[in-house]
Structure formats: C-alpha cells, structure tokens
Symmetry: T
Subunit: 148 residues, 12 copies
C-alpha cells in the first residue's frame, strides 16, 4: 500500500477565517477530511500535518525519505524564503508536488518566485481547495495507481 | 451543454519528437484523443486548436468570448513574451487555465515568469500530458460539472 | 490628396465590450466612423485596418512606405513587446503617431515602456476615443493641412 | 465660464533660444499668445504661469483646487524628479493633462520615466508647440465644451 | 479590559549585553517591567513573550486572533526575511505596531526593507527602549483608551 | 526653556481635504493646535512652519542649528527625493525625528525609501495625526523633559 | 544532394531602401541571387523565404526538421523577442547559423541580447550582405562539403 | 580547558545519503567522531549539535556567549536566508568559523551570497569533510593552542 | 573684461561649521574672498551667489546666458537629484565647471552619480577649498586668459 | 601587398588540450598553419601572435596603426573585461574582426557581453577553428581582395 | 615527490607594510619561509612566485599543467576582475585552492564576488597568514599525503 | 626636494593621433614637456612613465611608496576595471590625484564609474591637457609648495 504525506505550511490552520477573499471559505479540517476520503477510495495511506515551524517541516521531509512514496506540500509563506525546505525536498528524493490555494502569480511581486518549485515534479495553484484534490489525483498518476 | 476550448501554442505539434527529455514522449494526437474521451464521458463539448501564430491565438481567444464556457491554454513559448495573449484572456472574460507540460520553474530563467498566469484562474505545470487531464478536471470543478 | 493609414492593434475589435473601466464604452466601429467623418471634412483619404497579428501590422507598415503620408497607430499589447513593429516604422520613414486609449503610465509596470514611442513623432495617451481624434488633428498639423 | 490653468515648468522661458534641435524654434511668448487666442475662441478663461521653482509650482497646483476646472502642465525637468508635484496634482483633484514639447521616450533613459503621468488624465508629447494646442483641445473635450 | 500582546523577536534576550553601541544598554527585563507599569496605570492587560523561533512567533500571532486587542512586535532579524510572520499578522487581523530599537534605515542595506511594515498600522524605530513606550502609547490611542 | 521646531513639508496644508482615505480627516490647523497645547503643558517653546519649497525647508533647518534643541519634520514628498534636506539635517546637528501620517512602507514602491531617515534619530509613521503627538513625546524623552 | 533553407526575418524585404546607413545598400533580391549562385557552384539545393510573421517562421523551422540539412536565419527584430523561434530551432534539431547584417553589439542596448544565439551552432554579424555569404561558407564546412 | 561548539545546520543529518555527488559520501556520524578524536588529541572540550530549526540554532549561539571559546558552524541552507543567525553570532561575540562541505561559489546563484560570512572570522568551503578538520585546525590557531 | 559667475549650492553657507571632517574647516566667506583676490589679479569680473533653492539656481543659470562667459558651480546635494539644473546648464550654453569640496566618489553610493557632470566641460573634486581655486584656474584656460 | 595581423588572446596556447568539449580538438599550431596557407593563396602578408598579457595585446594593436591593413582578434577572456583592448582598437583605427571558437552566447552569463564587439566591424563565433577561416575570408572582402 | 606551486597575486609583496589593519603584520617573506618549512616536513616540493602582472600569472598557471600536482593561489585584486586567470585554472586542470588573508565577504561589495572560486576545489579566507597554512594542509589531504 | 611621479595609462602614447574629437590634438610628448617645465619652475623632481600594462603600473605604484611624495595618474581604460591599481594606490599610501583628459561622465555608461577615485585625494577631468597642469598645481598645494 502506497503512502502519501501531506504538509500544510504556516498560517494554514486559520483557513476559512483568514482573508477569505484570497484563500476561500473552506476550512483546513474540511480539506483534510476530503483528502482522507479520496485516499480511502484510492486505497493509499495518507498522513497529514500542519506546522508554522520551518524546522518541523524540514524534519518531516527529511524523515519521509524512507517512509513515504510521495509528498504533497503547500509551503505557503515559506515558498518564497526557505532554502532549507528546498534542500530537504532535494535530499529526501521523494516525488513532491507543490500546491497553492491562490494563484501566486497574480499577487504581490515577492510572492511570484518559488524556491521550492524547481525541486518538485510539478506545481498546481489557484484553484482553492480543489488544488489539493488535483494534486492528489496527480500523485495517483505519478505512482501509477488506477483512478476511479 | 458546456463548451470548452483547448489551445495548444507554438511548436507543440512536434510533441513526442521534440526534446523528449523535457517534454515527454506522448504525441499531441494522443493527448487530444484522451481529452476528447474525457469530454465525452463528462458530456461537455470540446474544441481543440494548435497554432504557431500569436495572432491566431489572440483571434481564437477573442472569439471565445460568447462561444465557450472555459479555456485551457498551453501558451508554450508565448507564455513569456505575449502581452497580446494576456490582454485577450483578460478581455474575453472566460475562465482560463494555464497548462505546461514541463515544470517551467526548473528551467532557464527567462522561462520562469509567465505573463499569462496573472489573468488565469490557476496554473498546472510539470506533469507532462497529465497536466492537461488535471486541467480538464479543474475545468469541470469550475463549471460545477459532476465528475465521474 | 493626402493619404492617412490608421492601424488598430490586437484585441481592439473587442472595444466597448472589453474591460470598459479601463478602455471606455465606445466601440471601434464608432471611432472609425468618427475618424472617417473628420477625414471627409479635412479632405484627406483615410484607410483603417485592425489586426491581432504582429506580422500583418508589420506588412501594412512596410507597404505604407510609398502609399501613405502619415500613420496613426495604436499598437496595444505590441507596444511593449514588438521590436518588429518598431523597425517597420523606422524603415517605412512615414510620419507616425502613437495612440493609446488608456494612460499606460498609470497601469502595470510592464505597460510603462513603449518600444514604439522612440521612432514616432509623438505620442498621445489617456483620453479614450478622444486620443484618436487628437492624433488625427496632430496629423493635419504635421501635413500642414488647414483645420476647420 | 470654465477656467483653465497652464503651468510651464523650469527652463521653458528660454524656449526658442535653448537647443532648438530638440525643443523647436517657437518662443514661449508665441505659444502663450496662441493659447490665449484659442481660449478666447472657446470662451474659456485662461491663466498662464512659468516657474523654475518646484515649490511655486506645488503652490499653484494646490491653490488651483477650488479655482480651476482643468490644468495643462509641462513639468519639464521636474517630470522625472518631483514627487511633490505628483502629490500636488493628486491632492488638487483637478483634471490635469501632461504636455511635452519633445518626445521624451526618444531621449536619454533618465527622461523616460514620468512621475507625473500616473496622476494625469492623459499625456501628449513630441509635437513641439502643437503639443500645447492638442492639450487645449483635449481639455475642451474633458470639460464637454463644444469645439469650433 | 483590553488585552495587549508584546512579542520580542530573535536575539532580544541578549539586550544590554549585545552590541550596546547599536541597541542601547537597557536590558529586556527592564523594558518589560516598564511596560507592565504602564499597562497597570492604563488598566490594560499585558502579555509578553520572547522567542528566537519564527514558528513560535507565527503560532503566537495566529492564536492572538480572538484573544488580544492589539499587538506590539519587534520582529528583529525576522523583519527582513519572514513572509510567514507577515502573513500571520495579516491573517490575525489584530491591530499591530512594529517597533525597532535602532533606526533600521541608517544601517546595512539588507536591514532597510521591512516585510512586516506593510501589514502593520504603523511603525516606530530608532528611540531605543523608548520605541516600546511610544508604541504602547500609540496602542492606547488606537484602542481609544484615555492616557494619563 | 527648550525650543522645538516643527516642519510640515509640501502639500500638507491641504490635509483633511486631500485624499482622506490615505491621510485622515484631521486638518493641519487642528494638529498644530494640539501640538501647541502639548508644548504648553510640557513647558517647551514650539515653532511651526509649512512649506512647499525644498529650499525654504533647507533654509529653516540650516538656521535651526543654534536656535532649536530638536526638530520634528514630516518631509512628505521630499522624503524620497531631497538629498538637500538630508544634508541640511546632518549639517544642523540638531536632534531630528521623522514623522509620516501614513505608513509609507505600505504604499507605492517609490515611497518606500527615505533619504531623510538615516540622518534622523528615529522615525514614526502610520498613525495619522497621532504620529506627530508620539514624535512630540519622543522629543521630550530625548531632551530628558519629564512627561506629565 | 544537401538541402539548405535560408530564412529572412521581418522588414528585410525593405533592404537597400531601409536605413542604408545601418543596413547597407544591397537589396534582398541581390543577396538571394548571390546565394543561389553560390549554391549552384557548391551543388547544394537552396530554398529561400522571407516573412514578417513570427508564426510563419516558426512553421517553416518546424517543417524543416525532416526536409533540410542546415538553416541560415536572420531573425532580425525577432532575435530579441521570440522565444517561439528559439524553441522551434531547438525542436527542429537542424544545424542553424544566425546571421546579422549589422553589428548588433554596437547598437541600442535592447538589440544586444539574442534569444536565438544559444540554440545556434554559431553566429556571424556586422559584414552586411557578406554576413550571408560567410554563413553559407560555414554551412558547407558544417556539412563537410568541399568548397571551391 | 578551552571549549568549542560545533553546529551542523539543516538537512546535514542526511549526509552521506543526500546527493553524494555534491556533498560527499561521508556520514555526519563519521565527521563527528573524527572531530572528537581531534579534540581529544588537542585537549579541548568539544560539543556538537545538529538542528533543522533556525530558532534552535539561534538559541544555541546565544547561549554560547559565556560558555564557549569558539564556534564552528555549517549553516547550510540558512547561510543564504538567516539574518537571525547572523545577528546571533554578532551578539554572542564568540570567535566563529563558517564551514561548507561544497564550494558554494560553484553552485546556483542564490547559494553564492552568505549572510553569515561577514560576522565570522573566516570561512572554509569546498573540501567535503576536510572542511571541518581545517576549521578545527584554524580554531586551534585562533585560540593559540599548540597543534600536534 | 570677461565675466564669471560662481554658484554655491545648498547648505554651503554652513561651511566650516558643518561636518568639518568631510568638508574642511574653511568658511565660505574665506573661499569667496580668495576667489575675489584671484579675479582681481586675473582682471576678470566675478559674481558670487549661494542658494538653498533649486529654482533660484536655475534662474541664475538661465540669466547667465547673455551675461557671463563662464560658470563655476558646486551643486552640492542637487548634483545627484536636479535634472532642472542640468537642463539649465545645457540651455544656457555657457562654459561650466563642476566643483566639489569632497571626493564624492569616496562617499555614499547615492552621491556617486552626477546628473550635472555630463553637461559641464569638466569636473574637479576632493581638494577642499583648493577645488575652487583650481576651477578658477581652469576657467582662465578655457577663456584663454593668461595666468600669472 | 596587404598586411594582416592575427592576435590570439590568453590561454589559447593550450588549445586542443584545454577543455576540448568546449574549444575543440584542433591545436593553435594547426590553425596558424592553415591561416598561413590561406594567406599565401590570397597573396597577403600574415603575422600571428599569442599573448596572455593584456598589455602586450594593447601594445600590438597600438603598433598596428600604421603597419597593418586589418586585424583578426580572438580576445578570449579579455573579451569580457578589457576596456584597454577596446580603446586600443578604437585608437588604432584598423579594420578589426572579432573571432570566438565557442558560441559565447550559449555559455555563462558573464561571457555573454563583449566589450570589444562594439568597436569591431563584425563578429564570428561558434564554429571552432572554422571561425578563424571565415574571419580571414571576411577580411579579404573588407580589403576587396579577390577570393579564389 | 609531489610538486606544489604557490602564487601570490598583485600588491602582496607589500604585505606587513600595507594596511596592516586589514592584512595583518606578517611579511610575505615570513609566510614563504613557513610554507617552505611545512613543505620540507611533508616531503613535497614547493615553488613560490609573486607577480603584479595578470599575464604572468596566467603564464604560470598555463605552464603548471604538466609540472605541478596542486596550486595554491591568492589572486588578490584579480579575484574580482580576471576571467583570464579563471580560464587558465580551468584549462590547467590542476587541483587549485583559493586563499585570502582577509575575510573578503566582510569588505566592500565589489570584493564579495570571486570569479576564481567556481573553478577551484575550495576556498579559505579570513585567517591572515594562517589561511596559507590551512591551504597547505588541505593540499596534503587532496594529494592524500599523510600529515604529521 | 619633493618628488612626483606621473603615470600615463594604456593607449595614451597615441595621444594627438587617437580620436582627437574626444582626446584633443596635443601629443603626450608636449604634455610631458610642459609638466617638466612646470616642475623645474616649482623646483620639484618629476618622473614620468607610460605603460599599457596593468602589472607595470601596479609595480610602479608599489615602488613609489618610499620614493615619491605624490602621484599623478591617468589610469585611462584601467580606471574602470583595475582593482589591482586601486589596491596599489591604497597600499602605497602616497597622495594620489586622478586625471582624465575627457569628461568621463559625459561618455559611455561603462566609463562612468571609477574604481580608482575612492582611494585618491581628488579627481580632475574634462580639460584635455590642462587637466594635467591643474593636477600638478593641486599637488603643489597638497605638498604645501608655494606656487609662482
């Protein structure tokens, strides 16, 4: 059974409450529940974590090396500043997909570069909660798991 | 019945032959066939075009205004240079999704900015042909069409 | 009898429908009709074209060399990206006036440089449809035609 | 009766004498006389000032707030350096048109940005003295005064 | 009774010992005592924390959302690098004031931009420990609490 | 008796009328009256001037050298362009505090650098009229005058 | 028999007429005739096209893939703006030589970068019509055809 | 007896496993053992820590102030992004040596600036595990301990 | 009899008092006296002015056109910000020499560009008061007046 | 009899041994022999030098002024750093052609600007040893010597 | 017996006399003597040269190709400007170590990039004369010579 | 008797012949003769050298340390590229004056920064041969030698 790790970056626990005009009204709990349902249907194991700490995210990615088959990560604010998360993904050598709720390319200039994107397989942004479900679907393709 | 337009930008007709290390081995014909199958299953109407001409793409987007419910576009090389395509998308006011076969953020610096992204709903890149199928799935969500 | 060519660049056929907050509510048909009335009154010959194709605009300017006395051009999106149109104007050696509906200097940064301006006699921007009529008036001065 | 203020910026009193290759041979006196004739014909009140002092120009714009219906300004050298004039125009909230004798976009790089343009309705440059007459004509349109 | 949170960023626990030429000789304990005295006098509740961990600061701001009426933050080194703290402040939607002991605009270039300032109400820098007392005074104004 | 000079820079006489969304509704007269009340209470002498002229402000600062104990300056638009005011402050060697009504770091990019800040003791911005009162309070601290 | 395609980019049909100070007095017809003579002598097949349309040039290069052994291209204005032509050359995988009539490195700054050069074998510029003949000679070397 | 602290930054626990082409095949355990052997021989006390958390590293450096005579730090990814670690080193005022396994100046551009270097005594990079041993040797010199 | 105008820019009246470490201990009165002595010896007429007002300096230069044979100007802070003074010098077409007391190229970066230098004959900086005397000597050469 | 000077810049004596993947396998001796053969055939006098010393190259160019009719130079590393060689070419006023073995525009960014190109007639790069032979052929054209 | 070449770049002959605050008090003679002692102990042959001439250094490196096993170079001022030395090192393909007496990353900005570093094995800076001894020790490791 | 060294940089031996529009018609021989006459009159010893070799100039400056009281240098092309000459001047600690024939600030952008200026006492440019005579006069002042 394939194992997938989902990492929600800083401030995402406030989802649904925080600036809904940009990030949508759905809560993180709802997204997590949806992802678990999709995992059950696809018969893959799914672990989810959220952290505001760059170090904890680096720890988690480092540990994923021998424990997970794929990573879905929304690095949020760390997208633009964390060389450490980038290095962790490169070091872990686990297939990783970058997810963003908002279309970061339509926002402030300092949000338009991603340090993380170059070490990911691919990137999905701008579809709100749907970004996560599309990423999950992309993971199934990468792991060559049949979709239903 | 909802109508979707798929636009393949310059040089994509060479897909499968051109630099397969970057763009994958799948041909454009295969991708188009797959998209049509997905459309049939989802009961939406699908039109596909490919053009190397910036002007033809601008024409097509301009005409989509009253004829289509959503646009999937892989602007390829024009991603980085065409203000005209950007303006056409903004003017057409049709929901548009940007697609890239390769992860443009892991390539040359001049490929890392997208003039088109800021006027799209969202963006999917790096999954090869799968990028298109994920975009199709995203369109169904945007148009609130039930997926099977 | 003096001959004037008016060139409308990409996406201008959508005028009146496209983002009226920026570009105004007047249609291109109305502007063209007004320009023809002004031409009739001033007893000059007027030709008008619109194209979304950079190459067609370059063709037209190249051909204007021996056929027209002055050019009024709204290069729209190509203002910022087309060295080819710039070269065509320099090569044609016909007196050319740059026109913009909106005040491009009050918009996004990438719209604030004009590749075309340095090879034009002058530039008029920000007055909506009135920009064209002022440009027409400026042409009459350049050609030393008496205004009524 | 509508009231219009014309402001000539630094060094313009030397017009006709100063670098005629760039600025033309017409003197400021001649331009002012022509503008007054146009004003008389259009039945609007016209006030004209010239100053080399940034502070005097800021004073004049600040005072124009309740006294004038429109402003025509050639900020000359201050175009590129004066945030104070920009703020004055924004604060005065009087319709303002930027005028340049030469095509500033065909000159040195430091003359190619205008701090003033973003707070003006529109901008006319490159037609020598004719730039002022076109600006006057544009003001009539903005104030919906019938032209003869 | 209004509640205020004061956050001291990284390395501030060394205050008084660390580079006194730049940061002054007062210790953090003294500043905290002074702030508590001011709070007692103004009859507001005051909580103080210091952390070298970006993640802990993001946690604290995230949790302040429903617990505090105002935030005083000296982000120290994170001022220049933390998009996460910026996002946390924007998400928490609590009135926030940025404080700096030294005049950051008179120091090294990389200390002259603040990622945090744009999401704060205002910013006070350069007065040593006094910067905090001015910020406290500013909070009273923002919360419309009468000063004594 | 200590003497303080307050300098209001260009366009501030329009306060309350000019863009109240950015600068607040309070007039300069009201701020000046409040500052005078504070001065009376603190038993310091207070002189206030406003000027749109960079040169007059430089004159005033130059003359303050032997006449004042502290300077409060809101350089407004000159913040970003005046090396002369910066040099005057450095030359006068009087303790100077920079004040801004709005949070200049949350505005256009060209307003985010201050030429004046590096030669001031400190800087207070974003609190509207309150910025001045906080600056006055900071001056009292700098001059070691007891606050009431 | 080896086959060579020569592509003349935008505005080159005006050669001899257009700015002879920069581009020389020779017409395109003369250059084409000379190239054909050289081809006859060298016993290679030569096809020549000129187009102002970026899309047509991309089409031609794409089609050259299985039809030609070498490409000589003067991309003219598209040298500096066309990622699409660059991608087409990379995709076609035909040996390509870049030609310029003028020394582009001695001209305006925006003409000093070439998007096309990095995907060509080599580049020849500054010799007027002779640039083409040298390129033809270089092609013979690349294709290991004996020169006479 | 002199006391030395060695700090390994983020992702270094993966050494030997992570991208051996760049970072070498030696594990962190082996390096630590070698450093301890060197310390025993030189009769100095050695403490070693590894952390992925910027905050923990800042804590450790802050605490080193009165506990250690020298610091050897490989800040890894934080080299390029952490002003907090830089400030901590400056504040601790303990002699610090920067170490890198790889030659950071031969890698991606964003790895070529070091925020930490300016506050260190010196810097050693590019020798793999040997970089640490050279740094240890440099520490002995700085502390004037005789080498064997 | 040849006539020379000397213009001292902003803050120079404080000379001798202001930052003597940078600008020297000599007062402006002493420099002016020395210049007058030199003028008397060389039998040229000398006028001297000092102003903190950019506009007054522009006025003076504009008026120098028909009244003076040469200009010596120390634009001080306006060196780096005044396009108006630059334009005035270019317009006046009087031989102008730029003078600086300090070596501006050894100071802050924003003092290292001179907007004025390109329109002057030459430039002398770094010799304190001696800079003026050398400039006076240079003027004599330019005007082909024999030196004693 | 026309006289041509060929200058090989720094490190070219290592040709054939040095990084053959970039510079080809041909030795400098072979290239020199080929050039001499071509010269003999064309009946021109040919002098060849190689130097690693910028100063020697400047000397040689300076002396070429009255001794040579044309210069072929491969400035190698000095292409990107030597203003002195550029000035020497401009001063010598001898027709000069720039040659590069590799396509410098496809290499590291710091190799993509040429200080020398703007003062040369033209430039040939990317054809290995053939670059020299093409340059020789170009010289014959420039000197209007008939090719065989 | 292994052979090592040490190259001291420009101005290093003044060591001990030149700016001792930056470069230390030790003379070059002393450093050379120490290096020779170390070489004798390690039983390797050591050659030392100093030159102010970029060309001589390039010559020496070029000749080292078949004569030396390792290179220790302090390129001093040429670190930042010499592409020729960089190319020479790359061409020589001898293991090279870069040495700096001072910590170049704590000095002026133009000293913070090294053109030479990317082609060296590693780099040691900031330890004064000790930098050379550490480099010598590093060479022994690279050549797998046992240290005593 | 005071001793002065004059250094003429690269290409200056061509003076009078080379681009007289920029550098004037006077030969270097004439300038040298004039300088020697001035030296004789002022009773100072004068040595003059010219070199195209950066290394020779560095040698000469290094040797001037104990042999000369002042240096006059026209670094010509090396002004903009030579950190080695800058370091030599700083190391020699002899009073140095920078001289330029032309006004380098009115020329190409790459000639507008001087690496040498920040370590000189002062700088004189734009007066042709007169620049040298003014520099000689400045030297007399610096050495407190009475002028005649």
């Amino acid at each position: 059974m394939k194992k997938i790790l989902v990492i929600h970056g800083p401030n995402l626990s406030l989802l649904g409450k925080r600036e809904p005009g940009i990030y949508g009204k759905q809560t993180l709990e709802k997204i997590n529940k949806d992802l678990k349902d999709l995992a059950k249907k696809a018969k893959v194991s799914l672990t989810i974590m959220q952290s505001n700490h760059e170090g904890e995210i680096v720890d988690a990615i480092g540990n994923s090396r021998s424990s997970y088959d794929a990573l879905i990560i929304n690095p949020a604010a760390y997208t633009h500043t964390s060389v450490a998360i980038r290095d962790a993904i490169a070091a872990a050598a686990v297939k990783t997909i970058e997810v963003h709720l908002s279309n970061i390319y339509a926002r402030e200039e300092f949000r338009q570069n991603s340090l993380v994107a170059p070490v990911c397989v691919g990137s999905i942004s701008g579809f709100g909660a749907e970004s996560y479900y599309l990423a999950f679907s992309a993971v199934l393709s990468l792991l060559k798991i049949q979709k239903n």
